[in-house]
């Protein structure tokens, strides 16, 4: 695809700016939850990913209603930068491997199913509720 140098720089600035807020937010929230509920089960990452998906559904509803294209600066800032850096798959995979490595098969399976089910439900429910709130009708 073709892209001018100026577009590349402003796009990169948007993604980077979003990550400046999203990354420490993930570090803070996951650390807070882990300290509060213990580190034997990765509640911190689960809470981060599910809450990120709630915001994702709301942003997607806004994008559909107000026509926010995926290449726009706002999208790069909020979705690619902030939400992209706030949520994480690598920690999820590493924690699942650690649970299996420790012989914690049931928690590992629960973590996988919980993460997938809750995140998809969060995006869907938040998308529906946000569409209802913004447009006054179910999608």
């Amino acid at each position: 695809m073709t892209m001018s140098m100026a577009e590349l720089l402003t796009g990169g600035a948007m993604v980077g700016l979003g990550a400046v807020f999203g990354t420490p937010a993930r570090f803070f929230v996951s650390g807070l939850i882990a300290r509060r509920f213990g580190e034997t089960f990765p509640w911190g990452t689960l809470v981060v990913n599910v809450s990120g998906c709630v915001i994702m559904g709301a942003v997607a509803a806004f994008a559909v209603i107000h026509g926010l294209p995926p290449r726009s600066h706002a999208w790069l800032l909020v979705v690619t930068g902030f939400l992209g850096s706030y949520t994480t798959v690598s920690s999820f995979a590493l924690q699942t491997r650690a649970l299996v490595g420790d012989g914690e098969y049931r928690p590992a399976l629960g973590y996988i199913l919980f993460s997938l089910l809750l995140c998809l439900t969060a995006v869907g429910a938040s998308f529906g509720a946000s569409t209802l709130a913004l447009a006054g009708a179910w999608p």
């Binding site: 990354t23 420490p24 992209g84 798959v89 690598s90 998809l120």
Partner: protein
């Protein structure tokens, strides 16, 4: 005389407490700074992957797939390489920079979820299921491969 010695001891105690507090603050700020810098680098890399990989209409979101799978390999590899039995010794700040920062910023659960939801809401159950299963398998296989590769490297040349 005794009074000034007492006073001096009190002052030194305050100084030590202040130095300890300052160290805690500096450590915390530099840890957050390292994680944030890593997150910016990881997010920019993920965006570059999205720019470089062509969007195949009707196909699966390969950009997110590629970033998530490769990020899982890297975190599995790095975690084992710098772990307790690892060959590479790095400090906790460096580990957080690479794992929480770069790998965490590079991979995305929200992007994956939105794309899967997109297939579901469009009625394309086949693509949704395919993308979900392929993604989950690739994350777990990648993190395992990374772990195995680093473990091999850790044991290489050791008896």
């Amino acid at each position: 005389m005794a009074l000034t010695a007492e006073k001096q001891a009190a002052t030194e105690g305050r100084d030590a407490a202040w130095r300890r507090r300052r160290r805690v603050i500096i450590d915390g700020v530099s840890l957050y700074g390292a994680v944030t810098l890593g997150g910016v680098i990881g997010s920019l890399l993920r965006w570059l992957v999205a720019l470089l990989l062509p969007i195949v209409s009707g196909g699966l979101p390969w950009a997110t797939f590629t970033a998530n799978a490769s990020g899982c390999f890297v975190i599995g590899f790095y975690a084992a390489l710098t772990g307790p039995d690892g060959r590479l010794f790095v400090g906790p700040r460096m580990r957080q920079f690479v794992m929480t920062g770069i790998c965490g910023g590079y991979t995305t659960f929200s992007g994956f979820s939105l794309e899967t939801f997109g297939f579901l809401s469009g009625g394309d159950l086949h693509s949704a299921a395919l993308y979900l299963i392929l993604s989950l398998m690739s994350w777990l296989v990648a993190v395992w491969l990374g772990h195995i590769a680093a473990s091999r490297l850790n044991n290489w040349g050791r008896i």
